[in-house]
């Protein structure tokens, strides 16, 4: 169209131009002066809207971070091989219960101590700790390696199922409990809650101790019982 401008276009330009208000009728300076307050208002409104949007986004990000902080289910505490204690952290929403086998509930030095009974070739072997479950390992133990000796006169080798006396600490996410086991009786030595958790001592008898740690959302439970002369700890997380 630009290339085809002809007299008709000039006539149209003149005719349409005559329909528009004259330039001098439109006072830009006066209009601009009258428009100033509205312009400032428009800019202020836009800034407020932008700031509000930014604050909203920030709030969403902070809320998201807080939610992630409260549910560290995706975190897995990977332990070094030689580290002796902490259980693997399991997602708090999953309920897990780990039973520790009787024969391994107490740390016993790995050294196998053969005991020779005079005049007999009977050897008693203590169980190793190698097959312990990952979730409920006792933490510390006062060494009380009392190898059980086969009574005199008995031949052959046997494996004990009793727990030697000693002090054991059980650790859960919500806290830790230290229990002494001696003469077939349980004694609660200490109970310590993790930050944010409250302690609830449910049972404290010679044959069973149960402590719960709760922070309102998650609950850790440590229960230790004496069964057939051996400790039966149970640590769960809900």
């Amino acid at each position: 169209v630009n290339d085809e401008l002809d007299p008709l276009d000039e006539t149209l330009a003149r005719g349409l131009g005559a329909l528009a208000p004259a330039e001098f009728e439109l006072d830009a300076d006066r209009t601009l002066g009258a428009l100033r307050p509205a312009l400032r208002r428009a800019r202020l409104q836009r800034r407020v809207a932008t700031a509000t949007t930014a604050l909203g986004l920030l709030a969403v990000v902070v809320a998201g971070a807080a939610v992630i902080e409260r549910h560290p289910g995706s975190k897995v505490d990977v332990q070094a091989r030689d580290r002796p204690t902490r259980p693997t952290t399991i997602g708090p929403l999953r309920s897990t219960t780990t039973r520790v086998s009787t024969s391994t509930s107490t740390s016993v030095p790995r050294t196998i101590t053969p005991t020779t009974v005079p005049d007999h070739r009977t050897t008693t072997t203590l169980p190793r700790q190698d097959n312990q479950g990952p979730g409920a390992r006792p933490v510390t133990t006062t060494p009380a390696p009392t190898p059980t000796t086969t009574p005199a006169g008995q031949r052959g080798s046997t494996t004990t199922t009793t727990t030697p006396p000693g002090t054991t600490t059980y650790v859960a996410i919500g806290g830790r409990v230290t229990i002494r086991f001696a003469a077939g009786r349980l004694t609660l030595v200490s109970r310590i809650a993790a930050p944010g958790y409250a302690i609830d001592l449910r049972t404290n008898t010679a044959s069973e101790i149960e402590v719960r740690f709760s922070n309102g959302r998650n609950e850790s439970r440590i229960r230790v019982r004496v069964k057939d002369g051996a400790l039966e700890p149970e640590i769960s997380q809900t």
């Binding site: 169209v1 630009n2 008709l8 276009d9 006539t11 149209l12 330009a13 005719g15 349409l16 131009g17 329909l19 528009a20 208000p21 330039e23 439109l26 830009a28 300076d29 209009t31 601009l32 428009l35 509205a38 312009l39 428009a42 800019r43 409104q45 836009r46």
Partner: protein, 171 residues
């Protein structure tokens, strides 16, 4: 490079000044949109609204290649909104079989060209007004209307054909 000025008379390396832009482009935009809408008040409202939007985000708009083009585009969109509203209102009246009660005095009878212009579709009216009144080239009209150059040429051609008949009948 302060002496290198563009067609609008400004240094292309320097962000545009709002007041200068307003003084330079306010009247031409109002004139062309008055022809497109047939109502100077509506045209002034559309252009004013476009300048207010530009002022609110001037830091960004001033750095565009063509700030007046951005403002014109917003004003044309506002005018299209106005056309849409008017059409909807008219349709509603027709559906209700109602008559609008006019309390304002009757406007002066339009010229033949104005009457013919009013019968053109909005796209042709806007294209013709921007091209003939504001003296923009096809590409600038296309930018303002968010159309391709070819579509603008088509609308201009159609408008010319219609208006040519009126002008030839007059002469």
């Amino acid at each position: 490079m302060g002496d290198m000025l563009d067609a609008a008379g400004r240094d292309p390396d320097r962000p545009a000044d709002f007041d200068d832009t307003f003084r330079r482009w306010w009247a031409p935009m109002v004139r062309s949109l008055t022809v497109a809408s047939g109502d100077s008040e509506v045209a002034a409202d559309c252009v004013q609204d476009a300048f207010m939007r530009a002022y609110a985000r001037w830091r960004r708009v001033s750095r565009l290649d063509d700030p007046p083009g951005w403002i014109r585009h917003v004003a044309v969109n506002r005018l299209r909104d106005h056309f849409r509203k008017t059409t909807r209102g008219r349709s509603a009246f027709e559906r209700l079989d109602a008559r609008a009660i006019t309390t304002s005095p009757e406007p002066a009878p339009p010229s033949d060209l104005a009457a013919l212009l009013a019968q053109l579709p909005p796209q042709q009216r806007i294209a013709a007004a921007l091209f003939y009144v504001e003296d923009l080239d096809v590409h600038q009209v296309a930018n303002a209307m968010q159309l391709s150059d070819g579509a603008v040429k088509y609308h201009l051609h159609a408008a010319r054909q219609t208006l040519r008949g009126a002008l030839e009948a007059q002469s």
